[in-house]
C-alpha cells in the first residue's frame, strides 16, 4: 500500500539534506572551477574572463583562477612539437581594454604567423586588467603549467607600490595562492595583510560562497554568447581619453622620491624570474603616455610623476 506523504517529514529531511550538502561543500571545497564547458562545448576565450558589465560584454570578473584558466583557449590546446608557445602577462594593455582579441599584442603576434627556433609561434594573452606585480606573478605561476617557451611580462612603474600588491581583487581573493607564492618564491606578502579576504568555514558553504558559485555558472552560461558573437568586452561608442592637462602635483602613492625597495615590490620581479625558472622571459617596461599638456614637466601622466626611479629591464 502506498504510504501517504508526510509534508513535515519531507520538509525536515529536505532541510537536513541541504544542511549536509552545505557542510560537505565547506569541508570538501570541490574546486569545480576545473570543470568547464569552454574548450569542450564552446571555444576557449582568447583572454581571461574580466568584465564590469556582463550583460553587454558577455564576460564577467571572478576570482576562481581554476575557472578563469579553464575557460581560456590555452587550456584546450595540447602543445604540439611544432608550436613555439608564448604567454604574455601584464595589465589592461596586455589584456586589451577597448581592443578586440585580434588587436592585442598576442593577437598581433599570432596574425604575423611568426616562427621561432623553427617552430610556429602561438601567443596566448594571459593579461588581466588590474595593476599589481603580485597579481602578474600569480597569473604567471598558473600559466607555467602550460609549458611556455617564452614569457613576455609587460609592466609599468605603477604596478610596483607595495600598497597595490594585494589590494587588487584577484590577489585579495586568492590569499592561499598568494601565501604559497610567498613561501615558494620569497614574494613579499604580509601574512596578516588586511586586504586578504579570508573565508571562514561558513563562508565556504554553498550558501556562504554563493557569489562564487553564481559567478562560475554565469561564466559557463556566457560561453554561449561568446561562441555566438565572439564578443568578450563592451566597446562604448565614446570613452574618456587619457588626461593630458595635469595637476601641479609630484606625489606618487604617498611616497617620496627617491623610491627605495621598502616602498616598492621590487622583489616581485625576482619572484617572477624564479617562477619561470629556466624558461626565457622578456621583462618589458611598458611604454607610457608622456603628456604635453599643463604641468607635463611635473607629471608624465595622471598616475606617474616625472623624476622618480625607472625600472631597469633584465632578461
Amino acid at each position: 500500500m502506498k504510504q501517504p506523504i508526510k509534508p513535515l517529514n519531507v520538509l525536515i529531511k529536505g532541510l537536513l539534506l541541504f544542511l549536509l550538502f552545505n557542510l560537505v561543500i565547506a569541508a570538501w571545497q570541490p574546486g569545480v572551477g576545473q570543470f568547464s564547458l569552454y574548450n569542450a562545448i564552446y571555444p576557449g576565450r582568447e583572454r581571461l574572463p574580466f568584465g564590469e558589465n556582463p550583460k553587454q560584454s558577455y564576460n564577467l570578473s571572478l576570482f576562481d583562477l581554476d575557472a578563469m584558466f579553464a575557460s581560456h583557449v590555452i587550456a584546450g590546446i595540447n602543445k604540439a612539437d611544432s608550436e613555439f608557445r608564448i604567454i604574455i602577462v601584464g595589465d589592461s594593455s596586455v589584456w586589451g581594454t577597448l581592443l578586440k582579441p585580434e588587436e592585442t599584442l598576442a593577437g598581433q603576434l599570432n596574425a604575423d604567423n611568426l616562427t621561432a627556433c623553427g617552430k610556429n609561434v602561438r601567443a596566448y594573452n594571459l593579461g588581466y586588467p588590474t595593476i599589481s606585480l603580485t597579481k602578474d606573478v600569480m597569473l604567471l605561476s598558473y600559466g607555467m603549467q602550460y609549458d611556455p617557451d617564452l614569457v613576455i611580462w609587460m609592466t609599468t612603474l605603477d604596478a610596483f607600490p607595495l600598497e597595490k600588491q594585494t589590494s587588487t581583487p584577484l590577489v585579495a581573493n586568492n590569499e592561499e595562492k598568494a601565501r604559497e607564492l610567498a613561501s615558494n618564491y620569497q614574494l613579499r606578502v604580509d601574512a596578516d595583510d588586511s586586504n586578504f579576504e579570508v573565508k571562514s568555514f561558513w563562508q565556504k558553504t554553498f550558501i556562504g560562497d554563493r557569489r562564487a558559485w553564481a559567478d562560475f555558472f554565469r561564466l559557463q552560461i556566457y560561453g554561449v554568447m561568446w561562441s555566438a558573437t565572439g564578443i568578450d568586452q563592451f566597446y562604448p561608442a565614446d570613452y574618456e581619453k587619457a588626461q593630458t592637462d595635469l595637476e601641479a602635483d609630484d606625489s606618487y602613492h604617498d611616497l617620496t622620491a627617491p623610491l627605495t625597495e621598502d616602498d616598492l615590490a621590487i622583489n616581485a620581479l625576482e619572484a617572477g624570474f624564479n617562477v619561470v625558472g629556466e624558461t626565457s622571459m622578456l621583462l618589458v617596461n611598458e611604454p607610457m603616455l608622456i603628456s604635453s599638456g599643463a604641468n607635463s614637466d611635473i607629471r608624465y601622466n595622471f598616475s606617474t610623476p616625472a623624476g622618480y626611479m625607472t625600472i631597469t629591464a633584465r632578461s
Binding site: 550583460k55 554568447m225 558573437t229
Partner: protein, 476 residues
C-alpha cells in the same frame, strides 16, 4: 517582484495564516495589498509619481466599485469604515516622508501631505456627486469603461505616454529635456485595467456580484497577483475570500510551499539564467550564424515561459497560504500539438478574458447580421482582431502588432487546415505510432511557430526581427 519582495510577502502570509487564521484575514489581505502596491511601484523620474501612481490605482478602483455596486451595498456603513482605513494606511505611508527610516515602503520620499489630502477630497466629492442622482445612471458604467480603456491607451501608446510624461513633468515643474515615454510606468495597471473592465462589463450584463469596497479593492489589487496575474474573476475570488478559513493545515502548507519553491526555481534559476543568453535587441544584431540564432531564439522562448509561469506559481503559492485558490495560467503550452491548444494553455486567464469580453461578443454580433459574412471570413476577422488586441495589451507598437497578427493568422490557418484535413488525419492515424507521429509533429511545428512569433515580441524593431528570421533560415 524581486526575490526579497517575494520572500517577505510569503513569510508575512505564512505568519498571518498560522498565527491569526481566519481572524482579520480579509483585513490583512486588504491592508497588505494597499501597502504592496506602493512598495512595489518602481521609482519614476517624475516628482512624486511613484507615490501618486499607486494612489491613482486606488482611486480608480474605488470609483469603479462605486459605479458597479448596487444601491444597497453602496450605502452600507462598513464601506465608509473600510475607505477610512484604506485612506489612513495611505496617509501613514505618506507620513513616512518625515521618518526617513521608514521610507522603504515607497520608491522615493513621499510627496507633501497636502496633495494627497486634496486627492482624497476630490475623490470624496466625486463619490458624493455620483451618489446624488436618485436613479443610478447606466451611463456612468459606459464612462467608467471609456475612462479605463482611455487610461490604458495612454499608458500603452508610446506617443501618448510621451505626452503624458511631458504633461506630468510640466505639472511638477520639471524640465522636459530628458522626457521619455518610459517616464511613467504604472505598475500592474495592465492587470488592474482588465479586472476593472471585467467588473464593469459584468455589471452591464447583470452578472456583477454584490461586494463591499474592501472585497473589491482586495480583488483588484490582491498582492500575490498584482504584478503578473493571473486575472481572476470577481465572483470566483469572492467565494474564496468569504469562505471560512480554518488556518493552514500541513497539506495546504506543503502544496503552497511546493508551488512557491517551484515558482522561485523557475523564475530565479531557470528564467534568469536563460535571460543571459536569450534573444534581445543587442544580441539580435551581433549573432551571425544560423545555429546560434536558433539557440538564442529557443532560449527566449523558454525564458519567457519559465519567467511568466514561475511568477504565476509564486502568486498561486502565496495566495494558497491565505486560503485563496487563484486560477491556473499555464498548462504545458509548449507541449500542445496545435496553435489553438497552445492559446488555450498559455496565459489562460488572459485568453479567457478576451474570449469572454471580445471574441464571443463580436462573433455573436457578426452572426446577427442580416447577411452574415462567410464562416472563414468571420473566423479570420475575429481571430486576427482578438490576437491584435492581445498584442496591444502588451503595448501599442509595431512589434506587438506584428506578433498579434502572426498569431491571429496562425490561428486562422490552423482552423482552416484542421477543417480540411481532420477526416484524412483521422483515417491515416489509426495506429498509436501514427498518432504519436502526428502529435509530435504538431508539437514541434507549433513550438517553432510560437518561437518565431516571439522574435516580434522580443525585439523593438520589426526590421531587425525580419533580419533575425532571415538568419534563422540561413539568409544573411
Amino acid at each position: 517582484m524581486a526575490l526579497e519582495n517575494i520572500l517577505i510577502l510569503a513569510a508575512a502570509s505564512l505568519l498571518w495564516a498560522t498565527t491569526f487564521r481566519n481572524h482579520g484575514r480579509t483585513w490583512f489581505m486588504l491592508i497588505a495589498s494597499v501597502i504592496v502596491i506602493f512598495w512595489l511601484q518602481p521609482a519614476l523620474p517624475i516628482r512624486g509619481a511613484d507615490f501618486f501612481t499607486p494612489l491613482a490605482t486606488l482611486v480608480l478602483v474605488v470609483l469603479t466599485w462605486f459605479i458597479t455596486a448596487d444601491d444597497e451595498t453602496r450605502k452600507q456603513r462598513k464601506n465608509v469604515i473600510i475607505l477610512a482605513i484604506v485612506a489612513g494606511v495611505v496617509l501613514l505611508l505618506n507620513l513616512t516622508r518625515f521618518i526617513p527610516q521608514l521610507q522603504f515602503f515607497t520608491a522615493s520620499r513621499p510627496p507633501q501631505l497636502e496633495t494627497t489630502l486634496l486627492i482624497f477630497l476630490i475623490t470624496g466629492l466625486t463619490l458624493f456627486a455620483l451618489s446624488r442622482p436618485t436613479r443610478f445612471s447606466a451611463s456612468f458604467l459606459t464612462v467608467g469603461l471609456v475612462l479605463t480603456i482611455g487610461l490604458f491607451l495612454l499608458i500603452k501608446i508610446p506617443d501618448l505616454s510621451l505626452w503624458l510624461a511631458s504633461f506630468l513633468r510640466t505639472l511638477s515643474g520639471q524640465s522636459l529635456t530628458n522626457v521619455s515615454a518610459n517616464d511613467f510606468r504604472w505598475l500592474g495597471f495592465s492587470y488592474v485595467a482588465f479586472r476593472l473592465i471585467h467588473t464593469i462589463r459584468d455589471k452591464q450584463s447583470g452578472r456583477f456580484p454584490s461586494v463591499d469596497v474592501g472585497e473589491f479593492i482586495t480583488y483588484v489589487i490582491f498582492f500575490p497577483a498584482f504584478t503578473a496575474g493571473p486575472i481572476d474573476r470577481l465572483e470566483r475570488f469572492i467565494k474564496d475570500l468569504r469562505a471560512p478559513f480554518a488556518g493552514l493545515n500541513l497539506e495546504t502548507f506543503y502544496s503552497a510551499g511546493q508551488r512557491l519553491l517551484i515558482g522561485l526555481f523557475k523564475k530565479f534559476v531557470i528564467a534568469d539564467a536563460l535571460a543571459l543568453i536569450a534573444l534581445n535587441d543587442t544580441n539580435a544584431t551581433q549573432v551571425t550564424s544560423t545555429f546560434w540564432m536558433w539557440f538564442i531564439v529557443y532560449a527566449y522562448a523558454l525564458q519567457i515561459y519559465f519567467d511568466f509561469s514561475g511568477y504565476t506559481d509564486i502568486a498561486l503559492g502565496i495566495a494558497q497560504l491565505l486560503g485563496i485558490k487563484l486560477p491556473e495560467n499555464f498548462a504545458s503550452p509548449y507541449l500542445k500539438p496545435n496553435l489553438t491548444q497552445f492559446w488555450n494553455n498559455w496565459h489562460m486567464t488572459l485568453t479567457q478574458w478576451f474570449r469572454a469580453y471580445f471574441f464571443n461578443p463580436i462573433t455573436r454580433w457578426l452572426r446577427s447580421w442580416q447577411k452574415p459574412m462567410s464562416i472563414p471570413m468571420m473566423i479570420l476577422l475575429t481571430q486576427v482582431a482578438t490576437m491584435l488586441l492581445i498584442g496591444f495589451w502588451h503595448g501599442v507598437t509595431w512589434n506587438f502588432t506584428l506578433w498579434g497578427l502572426w498569431h491571429g493568422l496562425g490561428l486562422f490557418i490552423h482552423n482552416r487546415w484542421n477543417d480540411a484535413t481532420k477526416a484524412k488525419a483521422a483515417t491515416w492515424a489509426i495506429t498509436p505510432t501514427k498518432q504519436s507521429v502526428l502529435n509530435i509533429s504538431g508539437i514541434l511545428l507549433t513550438f517553432h511557430f510560437v518561437a518565431i512569433g516571439w522574435i516580434f515580441f522580443a525585439l523593438s524593431s520589426p526590421v531587425v526581427s525580419w533580419q533575425v528570421i532571415l538568419k534563422l533560415f540561413g539568409v544573411n
